[in-house]
């Protein structure tokens, strides 16, 4: 990612527009980015960010809000000016896609994926042409996220504001991070499945520049042939276990 930002040579008038996820997979990515920032390899002065989603019904200062997540893991550590940061909210979601367009569209969208194949909060059944909107969370997601709310299902917000599948597809490049066995079925659907709104991640097959970064465990549902094929085209032995270029 830092490579893409630097390659772009962003300026004040031509900022690098970055789409950002939250969740357990991106956490390590952010830690790496912060390290790169600290060693002077990347600056966020001319980066504009758009986050994918945010809960509805908890204050932004709540420790589990995505405002808190982003502040804790990325924003407080780097030199990004606060007015270049965007998170969707009940107030701005109608304008969110326009705001992205005004900045020239998203250059690079980083993504995570849910075990049911959702990207952002585009749960199974979401329209693949959707834009930023309010979504009701599925029971599975609420149960999965209860671990962040002291295991209390009732404390988990029941809805969220999220970018649409189309918002992600409109980015010029998408990098998806999936790690762990829990994501293996979603990875199989994304790579070997057919495009379907039941696994919204599959919509990315239509994207002209889409990269998946996975660990060994996340490939376990793939056919051996598929894994071998991607390892083969990856080429260099140093990248065994990674499908896609190093972030």
């Amino acid at each position: 990612m830092y490579y893409r930002i630097n390659e772009f040579r962003p300026t004040k008038d031509r900022p690098f527009v970055l789409g950002l996820p939250t969740g357990s997979s991106p956490e390590q990515i952010y830690a790496n980015i912060v390290d790169m920032y600290r060693s002077g390899k990347v600056s966020f002065k001319n980066v504009v960010t758009f986050n994918m989603d945010e809960y509805v019904g908890i204050p932004t200062s709540h420790p589990q809000s995505y405002h808190s997540f982003m502040f804790k893991h990325l924003f407080q550590h780097v030199d990004i000016p606060p007015n270049q940061i965007h998170l969707p909210s009940l107030e701005n979601y109608g304008e969110y896609d326009n705001m992205i367009a005004k900045h020239g569209g998203i250059e690079l969208f980083l993504c995570g994926v849910g075990s049911d194949g959702h990207i952002a909060f585009n749960e199974p059944g979401s329209s693949l042409a959707s834009k930023t909107r309010v979504k009701t969370l599925t029971n599975d997601t609420i149960v999965a996220n209860a671990r962040f709310f002291n295991g209390d299902i009732n404390a988990v917000p029941k809805s969220a504001v999220t970018v649409g599948v189309k918002t992600v597809l409109d980015a010029r490049e998408v990098i998806l991070i999936a790690d762990g066995r829990a994501k293996a079925e979603a990875v199989r659907q994304a790579v070997e499945g057919s495009i379907s709104h039941v696994w919204t991640v599959t919509a990315l097959q239509m994207h002209p520049k889409f990269i998946m970064a996975v660990d060994e465990a996340a490939t376990e549902e793939l056919r051996v042939k598929t894994v071998k094929y991607f390892k083969d085209i990856e080429g260099t032995p140093a990248r065994i276990g990674k499908l896609g270029p190093k972030l």
């Binding site: 932004t60 200062s61 405002h67 808190s68 502040f71 407080q76 606060p82 940061i85």
Partner: protein
């Protein structure tokens, strides 16, 4: 009894927001470099995240603390007076008492103690009725200096066998449980102005013992066992979670009867924390006892001074409230003609430095004994004694000396700097000598 809280907790753009940068703050048991944001208008510590996301909130100034240690303001839950003012002295007129107290609060803040429980020793009923109305929680204003969190009434329901220097003829038996307390202190005083009650639990009628701590807790009053002959099992079964000046004025641990120390140091769990005050002046309690007490129940230890009004005054003989005399020899206070220890005149800062030396702990760990732990004991966790967003911005800026001891350089109250060492009012060096004895 409600502690004084601001009328609002969120920040608005017209507030004065200060950023303290380049400071070392205690996190877990280490000092880490960090930035602290405080709202001087509401007097609260605020979250960097809120200021970051809300573009309308801009720090009006940034103060570089050049690597100094910033800790929460100290809390002393047992202090009888200072600067010649005795909280138990009812001989003054109401006006004299009020103005004397005001002056003490202003001076006292320079010791780093930003909140305290003014402590009344055993007195006749009329004394409580006269002084307690002055000693309830202070108004929320940085100009008033150190603030009261509510009075600590140490007596008169104490065991005559462990009276210490409390005159035996003044002591009473709480034969009617809560009603006795309401009568002696005054009902209004009890529920509005009292925060801690030290009593000997074995004196309570058996019917009221199990329920009294909970009844008082519902009014935010802490019951503390002290000047007591209570046994291990009496204390364990009493639901009392606090002990007054551990080891002093109680049975000492015996191989088959661990007494109050055994109960408060061993019978501790996460769901049932127990707290104890301890005087670390090096005289009242042997350093080794402080060390093992801390290692047995580290999250229960609250350093207290039990300091008398003589703190800072010259040596000699002083008359106490009840007409008895106290001999001050250097830092030692004794009841005249005896060897009984009669309180201390040590500062909490000196106790803290003693504690670090006795237990070989660093400031980040030791500071909890004068901040977080007493705040938790009083039910003020998250409000006092911590640097979390939402807590009162009562702060001490400390200098760390070569030997690891600390000194107070600046004191902040409700987000306003109210004292600094290099200013007009210098730290009073003379009051810190006691530990050398």
């Amino acid at each position: 009894m409600a502690t004084t809280r601001p009328s609002r907790t969120h920040s608005i753009p017209t507030d004065t927001i200060l950023r303290l940068t380049n400071c070392l703050v205690p996190v877990d048991n280490c000092l880490v470099s960090g930035t602290l944001l405080i709202n001087s208008t509401t007097g609260l510590i605020i979250s960097p995240q809120d200021v970051f996301y809300d573009s309308k909130l801009q720090p009006s100034s940034t103060i570089d603390l050049r690597g100094k240690v910033v800790v929460p303001g100290f809390i002393d839950v047992q202090i009888n007076g200072a600067y010649g003012f005795d909280f138990s002295n009812a001989s003054k007129s109401d006006d004299e008492y009020a103005s004397g107290l005001k002056e003490v609060n202003r001076q006292f803040v320079s010791t780093g103690v930003t909140s305290y429980c003014p402590t009344i020793t055993s007195q006749k009923d009329e004394v409580y009725h006269k002084v307690l109305p002055h000693l309830g929680p202070s108004l929320r204003s940085p100009t008033l200096g150190s603030s009261s969190l509510g009075a600590h009434v140490e007596g008169p329901f104490l065991n005559p066998e462990r009276n210490g220097i409390h005159p035996p003829h003044i002591l009473q038996k709480p034969s009617e449980g809560l009603k006795s307390l309401e009568t002696v202190y005054g009902q209004e005083n009890l529920y509005s102005n009292v925060k801690v009650i030290t009593l000997a639990p074995e004196l309570l009628p058996p019917s009221s013992l199990p329920s009294l701590p909970a009844v008082l807790a519902s009014k935010n009053i802490i019951l503390s066992a002290g000047h007591s002959t209570a046994t291990f099992s009496q204390l364990v079964n009493s639901n009392i979670s606090m002990v007054t000046h551990l080891f002093n004025a109680m049975h000492q641990p015996h191989q088959r009867e661990p007494g109050i120390p055994g109960a408060v140091l061993a019978e501790v769990s996460v769901s049932k924390p127990r707290f104890f005050g301890i005087i670390a002046d090096g005289v009242h309690v042997h350093p080794a006892n402080i060390k093992w007490a801390y290692h047995s129940n580290p999250s229960g230890l609250c350093l207290v001074t039990d300091a008398m009004s003589l703190l800072g005054l010259p040596d000699g003989e002083y008359v106490w409230g009840n007409g008895e005399s106290i001999q001050k020899t250097g830092g030692v206070l004794t009841l005249k003609g005896t060897t009984k220890i009669a309180g201390s005149c040590v500062t909490l800062l000196e106790c803290l430095n003693n504690f670090m030396r006795f237990t070989n702990t660093g400031i980040a760990e030791a500071i909890k004994t004068v901040t977080k732990t007493p705040a938790r004991m009083l039910g003020l966790e998250g409000v006092k004694g911590c640097l979390e967003p939402g807590a009162d911005a009562d702060l001490c800026v400390l200098e760390v000396n070569g030997d690891g001891s600390v000194g107070v350089e600046e004191v902040w109250k409700f987000g306003v700097r109210v004292w600094e060492k290099s200013g007009m009012r210098r730290r009073r060096e003379g009051v810190m000598e006691l530990s050398r004895l």
